[in-house]
Point group: C2
Chain length 233, copies 2
């Protein structure tokens, strides 16, 4: 199904496009609906399209040789994906599956490359996004170099901390098994690490939000660990 | 010191530029010489230039909060560096130091951005390079998720393997402490892992080259480990 100009206009990568450019790109795209658990993109395949999530939620699934899941990355509405293969012509680096009913729009690779390399606004947006990915990968690499699993969990929690009216908080904390995958440890270790922080009154759970009551001690926990002997069992 | 057109022409990012474009970019650049151990770029600083190594050798130095070195990455002649900050306006993500006498050319950020976003050939080269970096970071993330340190060393060795007339070989093997930093382990573990492979006759050292005598067993060692009980002490 071709997509409407208004839909193309809602895609951030095309923000500030004039009417003619929007009409052109919308005319080149097509959309498709995926049910939960459908495979949208398959690792190893050749790239035929640059993809955009119009609505729903997708997950990037990358597995190790032995089938363990590596990293956790979701695709949210408005985002483009599959750009690596469109750019370098190499096979897809990971699979993408739908987490719930999702609508995805596709722009054929030839047109996508034309747009990416010849349109300064698009080039700038893609490269700024790449710069963010490279910086994030580098931070995660630093985090994974921490030998102690508890400290890795604490350091990962620190990356989620945001300032709010109530002080420092973590909203939308990922699930324990998701954090476990991010920091190379078991779900049980994540559970024990978070409970240790709660027992030490460094964080407090209020509904779905984690309040960081002692930000300095969380920072210290991430860099030098916690002294568990101070815990009364 | 401004740079000559011939020097600009030797930079891969400017390959296939016409004479006028080369003259223009050369006129905007300046070069500087660095002695061994000089700091070329400092983490946290604002970006004023896109940099190019004309000759010599540089090392990207990224340290954890506690001062441990993260990753090992060298910059070789012809390469550009410092592009992240030029693109996203954020501070430098790592420091760069000279390993030996080196000459570096600089293109001011404003001109670099104009070139990067408005010149399709340059945009394509930069994005292809970013795609490679993202793919490599993702592979390294997979490798670091292997819990066993010996297996991480074996998996890292596998990434160095090249086909040659003598079969599969590893040329220019990084130093043991460099491999240790790449795979989050100690130099001693790297040493023991490589010696185990030699004892099992999976690899053999011939001068500066490591011959992979049993490629299948190296692959197996990386995925399921080695059976050390088969080793006669």
């Amino acid at each position: 199904m071709p997509i409407a100009i208004e839909v193309a206009a809602s895609i951030p990568l095309f923000k500030d496009f004039d009417e003619a450019s929007l009409a052109k790109v919308a005319g080149l795209m097509s959309s498709r609906t995926y049910l939960s658990h459908d495979i949208v993109m398959r690792k190893g395949e050749q790239a035929e399209n640059l993809a955009f999530l119009l609505n729903g939620k997708l997950q990037v699934v990358d597995l190790s040789e032995e089938g363990r899941e590596i990293g956790i990355h979701f695709i949210l509405p408005g985002a483009y994906f599959g750009e690596l293969s469109v750019i370098d012509g190499q096979p897809r680096s990971a699979s993408v599956v739908s987490v719930k009913l999702s609508e995805v729009a596709f722009l054929p690779s030839t047109h996508a490359r034309e747009l990416i390399f010849h349109h300064p606004l698009v080039a700038k947006r893609l490269m700024t996004h790449f710069a963010q990915i490279v910086r994030a990968a580098s931070s995660q690499r630093t985090l994974l170099s921490i030998p102690n699993a508890f400290q890795r969990v604490f350091a990962q929690l620190q990356t989620f901390v945001k300032d709010s009216k109530e002080g420092q908080v973590i909203e939308g904390l990922p699930k324990q098994h998701e954090i476990a995958i991010m920091v190379n440890t078991s779900r049980e270790t994540v559970s024990r690490a978070i409970h240790t922080l709660m027992k030490l009154n460094i964080v407090e759970k209020q509904g779905t939000v984690l309040i960081v009551k002692q930000p300095e001690r969380l920072k210290q926990a991430a860099t030098v660990g916690v002294d568990e002997t101070s815990l009364k069992k």
